[in-house]
Amino acid sequence: MSNPKVDRRDFLKITAIGVTALAGAQVIRRAEASEPTPSGGRQWAMVVDQSLCNGCGYCVMACRAHNDVSPEITWNPVLEAGQVGDKKIYLPRPCMQCSQAPCVDVCPVKASYYRPDGIVMIDYDRCIGCRYCEVACPYGARAFNWKAFTEQNPAVPEWGQPEVARRPRGVVEKCAFCYQRIDRGLALGMTPGVDPDATPACVVVCPVGARFFGDLNDPGSNVSKLLKARTSYRLRADMGTGPRVYYLSATEENA
């Protein structure tokens, strides 16, 4: 009579190895980073001319007003970035809308996702508030709603109203290139980057005209032409995130 125990143990061992190997293969397959956004169609990009930016902060306020952002959160801070000669240089930092975004890769419920036009969106109804994306973003572009923002937003002027719904407590939020303005403008036949009503608020409001917005896939758009004409750089491009916000440096000549 065969010894059932030995047979069963061997069977179990083979199964264990098989299952583990299979699981491991699955992990390796799944753990790869997600594919970057498809590059057909429109690809929105923003260009900031640092030789013009004077750090006035109007873009910060316009963003806050249009998107009903709590005063404790800044989607688009203006940072000090050194000096050229006597002039202080500033760097406004919206969300980079990376084409290979770490935040999209790590969200456990896929609340952060790519739009076909390159904008990285957050589904605020799906976000569980685990803050993994906040930890993963190299640019610190995401902010968590630690508290509910229920009072009147002092940044929203009396004559206007925000264009998007306010985010509830417990979700992460970030700049979304004013997708609501882009979508509405496109539906009305306008051109984002050219027509102010179809362009992100920060670009429109800049009093010195330091910000530009447009379609990279359109060689005639202002951003394409700017990037062709002048040297630009992106933040931490070495990390391979593929940001879509380009900066034109301020130099001794043009500062």
């Binding site: 143990r9 799944r30 790590v106 569980i128 685990c130 902010a143 407590r169 979700v171």
Partner: protein, 417 residues
């Protein structure tokens, strides 16, 4: 008749329960305040969004690793004699994973959406993978623990058929052990990889962090199991242990610590070469900065080296006191490792402005709310284990041997003519 408070009748058991009850009540209160008011009352910030609760969550999962390793040893490697220890470990695993879930429930911004990860999948996300594996493994643990709950006397009396069915699950233990091994290997190391895949955090961005997590989890999980068994046996007659078994497990833990130290050593040493913004500062925080005491004394000296020596050197391993001390130190070291890893990476704020990235430091001290709710969760774990020892014979190395004997005897009975 004089009415006097029965303080003189307060048995140690009752005092223990009351003490735990107070801490749990405080924890529940703190947790409710967090649910009601929001996470802003903690000291977590956008720069350090993961703090004490995540550490408790990681540590709970780590010290539950005794379940999968001992069950794998018993059912897949054929080391049947360790089955009683595996039983204790499984129960500890169940408690540990429920502690982790409780802590996570408080920590995520939307506790009402805690089930989203099971429904909405992102196969590329390691945190999703961890959530799925933890959910599935919790199911496995519940199934593996059914025979333990079947030992509940009240249950055996009230629903004997149910108790017998639950006990019968023991028959499927090998299959559950296989699944549990696969799931645990995945998520214990994935917890490390959650940190390890973030290119934005150079101090975390290395492949061996998952290896460190799983090795430390195996060491810590087994250590907690043995420690809890020994402590229960000393404190109550309802728990009985076979010291020889525990001695063998302790010996294995000692060698696991050697492996852990080996990996840890090379991991740290390799980070000292050439300056990399973020990574070098992170290592400095650990070795020279505010975390240095926790690292050198808590993690290395007391967490690895001292228990390694104590557990591999026979005279100290066979001594009850020294073995328990060593095992407690291992568990402490595992917790310290997870705290250090989480905090050191988050404290480093790497600038993204053009030019050489500069480093600034954020700060975090847990708030009272976090400490109270964390302590409440830990107290819940202690309470669950104490009840298990008292009513479910969780630490009872003689019981299962009898059970096996019974089974063997039954199998040898001749068939009725």
């Amino acid at each position: 008749m004089k009415i006097r408070p029965k303080l003189s009748k307060l048995s140690p058991w009752l005092a223990w329960l009351i003490g735990l009850g107070v801490v749990i009540a405080a924890g529940v209160g703190a947790g409710l305040i967090v649910f009601w008011k929001g996470l802003w009352i903690t000291h977590l910030t956008d720069l350090i969004p993961w703090g004490l609760w995540i550490t408790i969550d990681l540590s709970s999962i780590a010290v539950s690793a005794g379940a999968f390793s001992l069950c794998a040893a018993v059912y897949l490697l054929g080391l049947k004699r360790f089955q009683p220890v595996a039983r204790t470990a499984t129960f500890i695993g169940l408690i540990g994973y429920s502690m982790a879930l409780l802590t996570l429930l408080m920590d995520i911004g939307r506790p009402d959406r805690f089930w989203y990860a099971v429904v909405y999948w992102n196969k590329h996300s390691l945190l999703w993978e961890v959530t799925m594996c933890v959910t599935l493994y919790l199911t496995v643990l519940v199934l593996e623990s059914l025979p333990i709950f079947a030992q509940f006397e009240w249950l055996k009396m009230r629903w004997p058929k149910l108790a017998e069915k639950m006990s019968h699950v023991h028959h499927y233990a090998p299959y559950l052990a296989v699944i549990g091994l696969g799931l645990s290997m995945l998520h214990q190391s994935s917890l490390g990889a959650v940190y390890g895949v973030l290119k934005a955090r150079p101090f975390w961005y290395r492949p061996d962090i998952s290896v460190l997590f799983i090795i430390s989890a195996v060491a810590g999980g087994m250590a907690l199991t043995v420690f809890a068994s020994m402590l229960s046996a000393r404190l109550t007659r309802r728990a009985s242990v076979d010291d020889g078994l525990l001695d063998r497990v302790a010996y294995f833990i000692g060698w696991t610590l050697v492996l852990y130290l080996y990996f840890r050593f090379w991991d740290a040493l390799s980070m000292t070469y050439t300056y990399q913004p973020g990574r070098t500062e992170g290592l400095q925080l650990l070795t020279q900065g505010p975390l240095s005491f926790n690292f050198w004394v808590g993690e290395i000296l007391l967490g690895i080296v001292t228990p390694m020596i104590l557990l591999l050197y026979r005279p100290t391993r066979t001594s009850q006191l020294w073995r328990m001390v060593a095992l407690a130190l291992v568990v402490g070291g595992v917790v310290a490792y997870r705290w250090d890893t989480n905090i050191s990476g988050l404290m480093i704020v790497l600038s993204y402005l053009p030019g050489e990235p500069t480093v600034e430091y954020a700060h975090y001290v847990p708030s009272l709310i976090e400490i109270l709710s964390g302590a409440g969760v830990v107290a819940f774990g202690l309470l669950a284990f104490s009840l298990g020892v008292r009513y479910l014979k969780v630490v009872n190395h003689s019981l299962t041997v009898e059970e096996h004997e019974n089974r063997k005897v039954e199998a040898k009975k001749p068939a009725p003519a």
